[in-house]
């Protein structure tokens, strides 16, 4: 298996007349935590949603573990839409954690985690619940299994959402600004869970404004600007001086999110 976890080729995305991603080429390494950073409107969330196939790219292809996602390039270079069954198979290797948690409000924490195990994977309830409890334990929320989302704090809801994604045993986990809706005192618990996952060797792609987290947990940093990959490297390559002027400018607006320590003269 020599494929990268995700390979993106000449990916563009337009909404009407406005092109928000301009020919992105990017490879995401297996077993690593890759952080997508960049100013608002740089296209990082759109890129992540294209990888999740929640948005369809306008041109270009995405390969997940060597398998085309959604579209395949034909012999004549034209894109061919793949049958739904193949799309579903490829997507089943991808889990997603959303900014707004998106827990289903009418199900308990455990119900959220076991729902797809029962309805999609066809497990019997007892087995699904055993697996679900194991995932809740992993995010430290075993005791809250019977609580409904409305009874959980934002940080707890996001950890349940992570457990829900993990229960399906994905190869790749995508995080779309997972702490952006959280009060500052609750971001730590979510970032800690993510740090543990990274140490366990999970392939993760994280869109985040938490520069401190990106610099310490991220193994690769991708800096997007105006819909293009401007920089792509390890944290030390990117953050150590001499730094790209756009990156410095960006970091200066995020001093309170852990960017200050990167900017202070060493």
């Amino acid at each position: 298996m020599t494929h990268p976890a995700i390979a993106i080729r000449r990916l563009s995305k337009s909404y009407g007349q406005t092109e928000v991603l301009h020919g992105i080429d990017l490879e995401i390494a297996r077993g690593a935590t890759t952080c997508l950073i960049g100013p608002s409107g740089s296209g990082k969330s759109t890129l992540l949603r294209c990888i999740a196939f929640l948005e369809e790219a306008t041109t270009g292809t995405i390969l997940i573990d060597g398998q085309p996602l959604g579209f395949e390039e034909g012999a004549d270079g034209r894109r061919i839409r793949l049958p739904p069954q193949r799309i579903r198979t490829v997507r089943s290797g991808i889990g997603m954690v959303f900014q707004q948690f998106n827990l289903w409000p009418h199900m308990t924490a455990l119900g959220n985690v076991t729902e797809a195990l029962v309805t999609v994977k066809g497990l019997v309830r007892a087995e699904a619940e055993a697996r679900g409890m194991a995932q809740l334990r992993r995010v430290g929320l075993e005791a809250r299994a019977k609580h409904y989302p409305s009874e959980l704090s934002g940080g707890q809801q996001q950890r349940v959402a992570i457990a829900r994604a993990l229960a399906l045993e994905p190869e790749i986990l995508l995080f779309d600004e997972p702490t952006a809706s959280l009060d500052p005192e609750l971001t730590g618990e979510v970032l800690n869970v993510m740090r543990d996952l990274g140490e366990d060797g999970m392939t993760m792609v994280v869109v985040t404004h938490e520069i401190g987290f990106a610099a310490t947990v991220g193994e690769r940093i991708v800096f997007l600007d105006h819909g293009r990959v401007l920089l792509n490297g390890t944290p030390s390559e990117l953050f150590a001086p001499p730094r790209h002027p756009r990156l410095t400018q960006f970091l200066e607006t995020y001093l309170d999110r852990g960017a200050a320590m990167l900017l202070k003269p060493a």
Binding site: A52, L54, R88, R91, S92, I94, G95, M96, F98, Q100, N102, L103, W104, P105, H106, M107, E115, A116, T119, V120, Y148, P149, S150, E151, L152, Q157, A161, R164, A165, L168
Partner: protein, 214 residues
């Protein structure tokens, strides 16, 4: 008023409740279909559904009832007045319930469906496991409200000759020359029924509170 007459009024109130409940139930089924048609991407489904909703919400129930009561025999269908009344009430409440349901379905946040999509749920599973249960919960208060409206509106079927609570009060008022008494008792019974329905609605909402949108 004798105990015997009061019992008559109570029975009539029971009939009013049964007719209203049946109309609400039939109206819910039709309302679901109309709502589905209105949310459909196909214009030939959307368009008639919109017309249905607009007509039955735009015409007084009394006129609808008179129309159905007279139209059915005119096209060769002779049915008892209770059937005409049930059709009228059901179609009218269906139009309102379709709109309530549409509001509920459109209030389900998109992200919850994206999460279901990412978890691999099929479109039908997304609908039946996530979208519909959440939308129905959001619709409960409107449904309770609609039940009370229909209980009150059912008084109009007295006009097409159904002997429900209002018609019974009317008959007794005419034969005893005591309109104040019998209309007041009828009013009190409607009030009591509506309070019970409202209380039942509050209990249901409280039971569903834990599963509300955070």
């Amino acid at each position: 008023m004798t105990a015997q007459l009061f019992e008559l009024m109570l029975k009539a109130a029971g009939y009013t409740v049964v007719i209203s409940a049946a109309s609400i139930a039939i109206g819910l089924v039709i309302g679901i279909l109309v709502c589905a048609a209105k949310l459909s991407p196909r214009p030939w489904l959307r368009w008639p559904a919109s017309l249905f909703v607009s007509f039955f919400r735009g015409v007084p129930l009394l006129v609808q009832l008179l129309l159905i009561y007279n139209l059915l025999p005119a096209i060769g269908l002779t049915v008892p007045s209770i059937v005409a009344a049930l059709i009228g009430l059901s179609l009218c409440t269906a139009a309102y319930q379709a709109e309530n349901l549409r509001g509920g379905f459109q209030s389900v946040p998109r992200g919850l469906l994206e999460a279901a999509d990412m978890a691999g749920l099929s479109p039908w599973q997304q609908f039946s496991r996530i979208r519909a249960p959440i939308a129905l919960r959001l619709t409960v208060p409107a449904l309770v409200n609609e039940a009370i409206l229909i209980l009150k509106a059912s008084s109009l079927i007295s006009v097409v000759g159904v002997i429900e609570l209002t018609r019974t009060a009317q008959n007794l008022a005419a034969s005893t020359y005591e309109p104040l008494l019998f209309y007041s008792v009828a009013g009190g019974l409607y009030l009591a029924i509506n309070w019970l329905v409202a209380a039942g609605g509050s209990l249901t909402e409280r039971a569903l509170r834990r599963g509300r949108l955070a």
